[in-house]
């Protein structure tokens, strides 16, 4: 018996000793000194924060920043629980369209950061629809916007287009008929039409873009953007009108062979690989994924164009997204240090690092010369943005997005009809609001 008890007791004692010697929780300090843990989504955001940390630590030598990287999927699944727990990071990456943001605000799990928006004139350096947008809840800011982007664009393979005899310049906005004509020409030379990650967020983007294309006024589009369940005259928003017409267009495009083989089950990354392989004429994506595509050195030049316009709709603009940002959980162990880091990332100095990491700054008061760090296509898009126009992106609630994404795959594979999917989404919007 003694032979058993002694090793067990020794193990327990050793474990207790190790636990006692472990890292003690960081103490809150008035000047933010100590460690600041920041959680970032992987990709260009993580690259940007990584490049900002040395400069921040140089400015605040008593603060040490630890960067934790999570994938978008991990954050979607864990953000609500993680950021409301005692293990919350000091500075947490969030997106306004994630269900976590309003939930955390409502539960009082995020610190107000109004003073960060006042610092360095951030609120005045961003468009008013951003400063008055979803970052502001109940009259206060609970997160700090970091960058801007837009989606979807159509990237095209210039070599294949030339081979197919399609003449098009960057920034072109085709009609639906022109677009379908290109598909025939691409198929005639043995290429495929449009690659899209139909099992990913890009499915939401195409649905949004085509819905916008079928709207007849910016007011009508804003009803979709604000996710109203009904229009002013009590007409269901999703089971009729532009949304249904968008689904009918997707269905018609599918029947016309627009989408590349396997699009229904593809992720965005798989669609990018397929496009980069050189056998597909076009890719539905956004500027945020262009650096990854270009890093693979595709053996052809890549151009870009706007989404096609429909027969009776409005001209398709850039659908802008400004929902990336950081928040400070109330359980943060170093909220002072976290606020200093948030201020730094939103400051002109922090924003100036974004282009080199492949992202687009949100501040309008930065030097134009910084844009030279962006890819030429993105620079061109930014230059043409005033003439081509902008509108806010459609960012539905998470359950509606899931239904729309699954529905896109079902539509492409004949498991549902435009009417069936539109009715299902309408029901989902209604249940979400109730």
């Amino acid at each position: 018996m003694k032979r058993i008890i002694v090793p067990i007791a020794a193990t327990v004692a050793a474990s207790l000793l190790v636990a006692a010697c472990g890292e003690a929780p960081a103490k809150t300090s008035a000047n933010g000194s100590g460690t600041v843990v920041v959680t970032v989504v992987s990709g260009d955001m993580a690259a940007w924060v990584k490049s900002a940390i040395p400069l921040f630590e140089k400015k605040y030598p008593k603060i040490n920043v630890v960067e934790n990287t999570e994938t978008q999927e991990q954050l979607l699944a864990n953000a609500t629980q993680l950021y409301s727990s005692n293990d919350a990071p000091d500075l947490a990456f969030l997106q306004t369209n994630m269900s976590a943001y309003p939930l955390l605000v409502k539960a009082g799990d995020l610190e107000p950061v109004d003073d960060v928006w006042s610092k360095d004139g951030l609120a005045n350096a961003v468009p008013t629809d951003v400063s008055d947008g979803p970052w502001k809840q109940d009259g206060h800011y609970y997160g700090v916007v970091t960058d801007q982007t837009w989606a979807p664009d159509i990237f095209y393979n210039k070599a294949l287009f030339a081979k197919a005899g399609i003449s098009v310049s960057d920034g072109y906005r085709p009609t639906d008929q022109e677009f379908l004509g290109w598909i025939k020409k691409l198929k005639a030379i043995g290429a495929q039409g449009l690659a899209i990650g139909g099992d990913d967020f890009t499915a939401k983007h195409i649905t949004g873009a085509l819905t916008q294309a079928w709207t007849t006024s910016s007011a009508q589009w804003n009803e979709y953007v604000s996710n109203a369940a009904t229009t002013s005259n009590d007409t269901p928003l999703y089971s009729k009108g532009p949304y249904l017409e968008a689904l009918q267009t997707i269905d018609a495009w599918n029947k016309a062979g627009v989408f590349a083989k396997g699009s229904a089950g593809m992720t965005a990354a798989q669609a990018e690989s397929l496009f980069a392989s050189g056998n597909v004429g076009m890719l539905s994506d956004g500027p945020f994924d262009l650096p990854a595509i270009m890093s693979g050195n595709p053996p052809f030049d890549i151009g870009w164009m706007m989404y096609p316009t429909m027969s009776t709709g409005t001209k398709t603009p850039f659908l802008t997204y400004t929902g990336d940002g950081f928040a400070i959980p109330t359980h943060a162990k170093n909220p002072v240090g976290a606020k200093l880091l948030a201020e730094f990332l939103a400051s002109p100095q922090g924003q100036a690092l974004l282009p080199a990491a492949g992202s687009i700054p949100i501040r309008s008061d930065l030097s134009k010369s910084l844009e030279s760090d962006l890819l030429p296509q993105i620079q061109e898009m930014m230059a043409m943005m005033p003439s081509l126009g902008t509108a806010p992106i459609w960012s539905p609630a998470q359950n509606v997005e899931t239904e729309a994404t699954n529905g896109f795959g079902e539509l492409l594979t004949g498991q549902t009809t435009p009417d069936g999917l539109a009715a299902a989404v309408q029901e989902m919007v209604g249940s979400g609001q109730s």
Binding site: G262, N399, N406, T413
Partner: protein, 313 residues
């Protein structure tokens, strides 16, 4: 005489050493004290989560803040949800096909190995290897192989109708593609069990059957398999339960898509709870899924009685 004296002395001494009632009480106390830590752990980590999930299935809870009562609405929503019906159908199909496939293939491989066919050691290693491979590795490997544009399997088998469109990218074939990958990966598990069971059969029994003129097939069907039917029944039950609980392979391979065509209960629960933040509805799905698994397991136990086979077989 010495023995009798000793026995008599012992019987006289026993009542003095231990009072029967007091001794029984003490035994009960010792049992309770020894079992208490395990009971507390089971109550905290097993019973409480189960009760909590059942409670949550009658509530609406987005993951934060107080839950609100929802009555039976989660369950009524579940009945009318086509995604749930698809998940149930897929789960049943997956469980039956994968159990039959893995146990069938595993048993055939085990019989071959037991008969010491040529290179049997290599077969044993090669066929067990997929079982120890991480699910994500298997998923990446097969999703690349079955890719409609780049997949080597797709190109090799493109003469078969439907394969060229991508086995995992076509709704009508996607669930079969997932089943195939599961059979490929999991057959090593029943194989190892059956190899172990077959090795316990006395060689004389098989030799006697061979002397009576039984060929390899007849020997396997009439002699070997009946003698290991208890193991076979247990392996089938285990595979059935594993298959019903499937989540990781489907999540890594197709995430339930395209559309909802490979949605199973595990991926549906994950999606509703952690992506849509609808923990009440996800709990209702989990409760129903658990009831189904328990009912199927009980029905299987009632029909095949693996325990009885083991005791008397």
């Amino acid at each position: 005489m010495t023995l009798l004296r000793t026995a008599s002395a012992t019987s006289r001494e026993l009542p003095q050493r231990r009072h029967p009632v007091r001794g029984r009480h003490r035994e009960i106390w010792v049992t309770v004290v020894l079992m208490l830590p395990a009971l507390i752990l089971a109550a905290v980590f097993l019973l409480y989560p189960i009760i909590n999930t059942i409670q949550l299935s009658f509530q609406d809870w987005p993951g934060l803040g107080p839950a609100t009562s929802a009555g039976f609405s989660n369950f009524t929503q579940l009945v009318s949800d086509p995604g749930f019906r698809t998940a149930i159908t897929n789960n049943l199909l997956f469980a039956v096909v994968v159990t039959a496939g893995t146990v069938g293939l595993g048993t055939v491989l085990a019989l071959a190995i037991d008969n010491r066919v040529r290179f049997w050691r290599i077969y044993r290693f090669v066929f067990f290897l997929p079982y120890v491979m991480p699910i994500t590795v298997v998923a990446i490997m097969w999703s690349n192989a079955l890719d409609p544009n780049f997949g080597w399997v797709t190109h090799t088998l493109s003469f078969i109708p439907g394969v060229s469109d991508g086995l995992l990218d076509t709704p009508s074939s996607a669930i079969w593609g997932v089943c195939w990958v599961a059979i490929w990966q999991l057959s090593g598990f029943p194989m190892v069990y059956m190899v172990a069971a077959l090795s316990t059969i006395p060689p004389e029994v098989e030799q006697a059957a061979q002397l009576d003129g039984a060929g390899p097939v007849k020997l396997a069907w009439r002699v070997s398999l009946p003698m290991v039917r208890d193991t076979l029944a247990t392996v089938v039950l285990l595979q059935l339960i594993f298959s019903f609980k499937v989540f990781d392979l489907v999540q890594a391979l197709t995430q339930g898509g395209p559309g909802n065509s490979t949605q199973v209960l595990g991926t549906l629960i994950y999606r509703d709870a952690f992506i849509n933040n609808d923990f009440g509805y996800a709990s209702a799905v989990a409760v129903v899924a658990t009831i189904i698994i328990v009912l199927i397991s009980l029905a299987y136990l009632a029909v095949f009685k693996p325990g009885k086979i083991e005791r008397h077989g």
